[in-house]
């Protein structure tokens, strides 16, 4: 499983970007599942292709404390490609 990190105690008065940042976890990016070379290679390739986006989303969702249930994997990828539809990313020459 991905490292989901921890939540540090937060001043409940904080609001805005500062408050949102404060509510983030300590370690955010998805790490490799193990220390072996295969785990690391797999993690790198998956990360580069963007495959770990759903895991990162789940971790984000859990930390955010959002009361609605997280999207299923299928729905997440639909949401993501629909979003890409409206926000095209350039590819270089």
């Amino acid at each position: 499983m991905a490292q989901t990190g921890a939540m540090a105690p937060v001043d409940p008065e904080l609001s805005g970007d500062a408050g949102r940042a404060a509510r983030r976890t300590a370690r955010l990016s998805v790490g490799p599942t193990g220390d072996g070379w295969w785990d690391r290679t797999r993690w790198f390739i998956r990360g580069m292709l963007g495959e770990n986006a759903y895991q990162a989303y789940l971790a984000h969702h859990e930390r955010s404390g959002c009361p609605t249930p997280a999207l299923s994997e299928r729905d997440y990828w639909r949401w993501r490609t629909d979003w890409q539809e409206r926000n095209p990313q350039g590819r270089c020459c």
């Binding site: 001043d11 404060a22 983030r24 300590a26 790490g31 790198f44 959002c66 409206r86």
Partner: protein, 746 residues
């Protein structure tokens, strides 16, 4: 800020720790850097001074890698200290705007690969091939020195400044820094430059596939493969990206092999031998459809496939060059280095070398990736040096490998492939007569050499296969066959390379059209607000149509041009790309001056160089009286010939062809003027903004507000001892504090 971070371990090394780390010159460290410097120095001496019969390709690798290491360790660190001054206490947009979507803190090593895959494309592969006509040295020096002082600096600064501004795009930053006039000029310049870049990339593919049934079949098959992958990811196994990429890759290898069988059958040869105009129309229609189809169906899966192939092939080529270590017989400086009548791309070395090799040394297009996509994924501020500066060094290395591949083939074959059909007549005899007539030392081309080479790679002919891609493919197959398979596998490697280039050029065409369409909709929205609504189908179709018509017209013009197409258009591509770089650097200059930074020369040097190179090259293209260099001189010569009632002139054999030249040169000449004028407006407004900032000792910042960071990650690829210590503190902290939800957050 009032965030109480007392209970967290530190989120940043202290300045003293960073300082101490840099100054910790242990004997081992001193010895390592001395060894790197000596090896790099020896390699440069071998390349530039020692004149043997041949030179081993391994020296290119040493010269490049040692120079990159030293530049990264010392020069990039200098820029970090003097200009960017990152602060790991500051949360990045990925941290404070995290949304599980585009804002997402990403491990620096993964992001490096991601960023590299986004910036590297066909550009660094094509330019060095065309510049090899001058010998290996001019291109090598420009690629390596250019990236250190210009290209990597641009990528790093744009990435950093965009990150400090919440991931704003280059266009938005131009508006913020330069006001309305500069901002509008920047937007128009970006839009027109994108059109020309997409058109010329498409032209490279057309030239590689023209009259090649094998290539047409295998590249054409990538469309059904991508559609299959799209459906697989949408309905069968959502999110299994590497699985589907692997399936796609296996299918890709199958269609490359199958292409050889199909091209051998009579029906295959009949169906898939297409002339360039037909292929160009095919790409135009494809480009329109791809840009309006849902992203998940074609663009996203093609992008996965292209990333997979790109990184895999580049690693493979690097390993092959190191293992095979080919001997290079091309001279350091060719006969054409000191002249202005070189046959591949005409014009004197200065400025044309510097616009022929754009990507790999300095590429303005990267500024569009470094602002917008990557800055929203950066985890910690200090990682920008590794991602931005380091990512561009890797692209430069790709350009060096492309150069090595191109010069590892026989020089006579190189010219036969890269000189336009207007000069060779497109025949083996014509090519042999033309190339031998150039009077190059050590070149003695025979018809057998060309025929054997064509047969080895499974093509009917390799004469006048311009555009760089076929030459690179031949070079790659030449190197790879020495490692695996011998000459019997050369045709596979050749078509593998063609596929690899075509794949990511087509991805760039799709994505470029889409991005340009959104830019156009945004601009039109100023006059007709409904265009801003990007989900409005009619608006989307109209704007896509306009963009496709723009690059399609230039593509058709290039394909039908009696003067040889790519060879006259490629300088325009380089000029456009470097103008975009000058534009991005000028925005960086205005920002750095606003922040009251002192070492502005770091930006001024590459900005001045890019401005001079592109302006001089544009002036040549506009005012040169030599028809092979100046668009208007060519225009006038053909117009006069028509006025005199002549029915053939130069390489144009009919009145229609002559009229085509008149029309094409008019468009090319006009574009040259438009680019240079727009960019000079942007640079002028940026310089004025810079001077006013310097006079008043800085100006109010355009950065987003400081937000306290609450995460930690090291800056570079390898953690330093102090970073390891901090990582250990965080690991211990995390073990004690399991996930704790925050109530009340939406």
């Amino acid at each position: 800020m009032s965030v109480d971070s007392a209970e967290l371990p530190p989120v940043s090394l202290t300045e003293e720790q960073v300082e101490a780390e840099e100054k910790r010159w242990t004997p081992v460290r001193i010895a390592t850097w001395a060894a790197i410097a000596i090896l790099g120095g020896v390699a440069w001496v071998m390349l530039a001074i020692v004149r043997g019969e041949t030179i081993n390709a391994i020296w290119f690798v040493f010269a490049a890698v040692c120079t990159y290491l030293i530049a990264y360790r010392f020069y990039a660190t200098y820029i970090e200290k003097k200009i960017t001054q990152p602060d790991d206490n500051r949360a990045t947009p990925a941290e404070y705007k995290e949304n599980g979507q585009d804002y997402m803190p990403t491990d620096r090593r993964v992001l490096y690969g991601h960023h590299f895959a986004a910036i590297a494309g066909a550009g660094p592969l094509v330019g060095p091939v065309l510049a090899a006509q001058l010998g290996y040295l001019p291109g090598t020096i420009w690629i390596i020195v250019g990236v250190v002082l210009a290209g990597a600096v641009q990528d790093y600064l744009v990435l950093f400044f965009s990150m400090r501004r919440g991931g704003r795009s280059l266009g938005q930053m131009a508006r913020d820094e330069l006001g309305k006039v500069g901002g509008t000029a920047a937007l128009l310049a970006t839009l027109t430059i994108m059109i020309i870049i997409v058109a010329i990339l498409a032209l490279v593919v057309v030239n590689a596939l023209g009259e090649s049934p094998w290539g047409v079949f295998s590249v054409g098959m990538t469309i059904p493969i991508a559609l299959f992958m799209g459906v697989y990811l949408r309905y069968l196994r959502p999110g299994k990206v590497s699985e589907v990429s692997l399936i796609g890759f296996v299918l890709l290898i199958l269609v490359i092999v199958a292409g050889g069988w199909v091209a051998d059958t009579s029906w295959g040869a009949e169906w898939f031998t297409l002339d360039r105009t037909t292929i160009a129309w095919g790409i135009i229609i494809y480009g329109f459809i791809a840009a309006v189809l849902p992203v998940w169906l074609l663009l996203a899966p093609r992008d996965y496939l292209s990333t997979f192939m790109k990184v895999g092939t580049i690693v493979m080529l690097a390993v092959a060059i190191v293992l095979v270590r080919p001997e290079i017989t091309v001279p350091a400086l060719s006969e054409f280095a000191g002249r202005s009548d070189a046959p591949v791309v005409a014009g004197p070395l200065f400025p044309f070398l510097f616009v022929t090799i754009a990507c790999g040394a300095l590429s303005g297009f990267h500024a569009l990736i470094s602002s917008g996509t990557t800055p929203k994924l950066i985890e910690k501020e200090r990682q920008t040096k590794f991602i931005g500066y380091g990512g561009m060094l890797m692209e430069s290395f790709v350009a060096i490998m492309a150069l090595v591949a191109a010069i590892s083939i026989d020089r006579g074959i190189y010219f036969a492939m890269n000189v336009s059909a207007a000069a060779t007549g497109g025949t083996v005899e014509g090519a042999v007569a033309y190339v031998n007539g150039l009077g190059l030392t050590g070149v003695n081309l025979t018809p057998e050499m060309l025929e054997t080479a064509a047969a080895n790679v499974g093509e009917e002919s390799i004469v006048s296969r311009t555009g760089g891609a076929p030459t690179l493919a031949l070079g790659l197959s030449h190197i790879m066959q020495q490692l695996i398979g011998g000459t019997s596998l050369m045709s596979f490697w050749y078509h593998f390379a063609i596929m690899f280039e075509a794949l990511f050029i087509l991805t760039a065409v799709d994505a470029g059209t889409r991005v340009a369409r959104f830019m156009l909709q945004d601009s039109l929205g100023n006059f007709w607000p409904r265009f801003r609504d990007t989900s409005w189908r009619t608006g989307a179709w109209v704007c896509t149509g306009i963009m496709v018509a723009g690059w399609g017209a230039i593509l058709i013009m290039g394909v039908t041009d009696p003067l040889g197409g790519i060879n006259t258009l490629f300088p325009l591509f380089g000029i456009a790309n470097q103008l975009l770089a000058a534009l991005a650097l000028s925005i960086c200059l205005a920002i750095a001056a606003r922040q009251n930074r002192k070492a502005l020369w770091v930006i001024i040097v590459p900005l001045a160089f890019a401005t001079v190179v592109t302006t001089v090259a544009s002036l040549y293209k506009i005012f040169s009286s030599v028809p092979s260099i100046g668009y208007w001189a060519q225009h006038a010569a053909f117009k006069d010939a028509l006025a005199r009632g002549e029915t053939s002139f130069g390489t144009a054999g009919s009145v229609e062809a002559m009229e085509a030249v008149v029309r094409n040169t008019f468009i090319q000449g006009t574009l040259s003027i438009v680019f240079v004028v727009l960019t000079l407006i942007v640079i002028a407004t940026a310089v004025m903004a810079t001077i006013s900032s310097i006079r008043s000792g800085g100006a109010p910042t355009t950065e987003e507000e400081f937000v306290q960071s609450r995460i930690y990650a090291p800056a570079g690829i390898i953690s330093t001892p102090a970073e390891k210590d901090l990582e250990a503190q965080w690991a211990a902290y995390l073990a004690e504090h399991p996930v704790e939800r925050v109530r009340g957050h939406h």
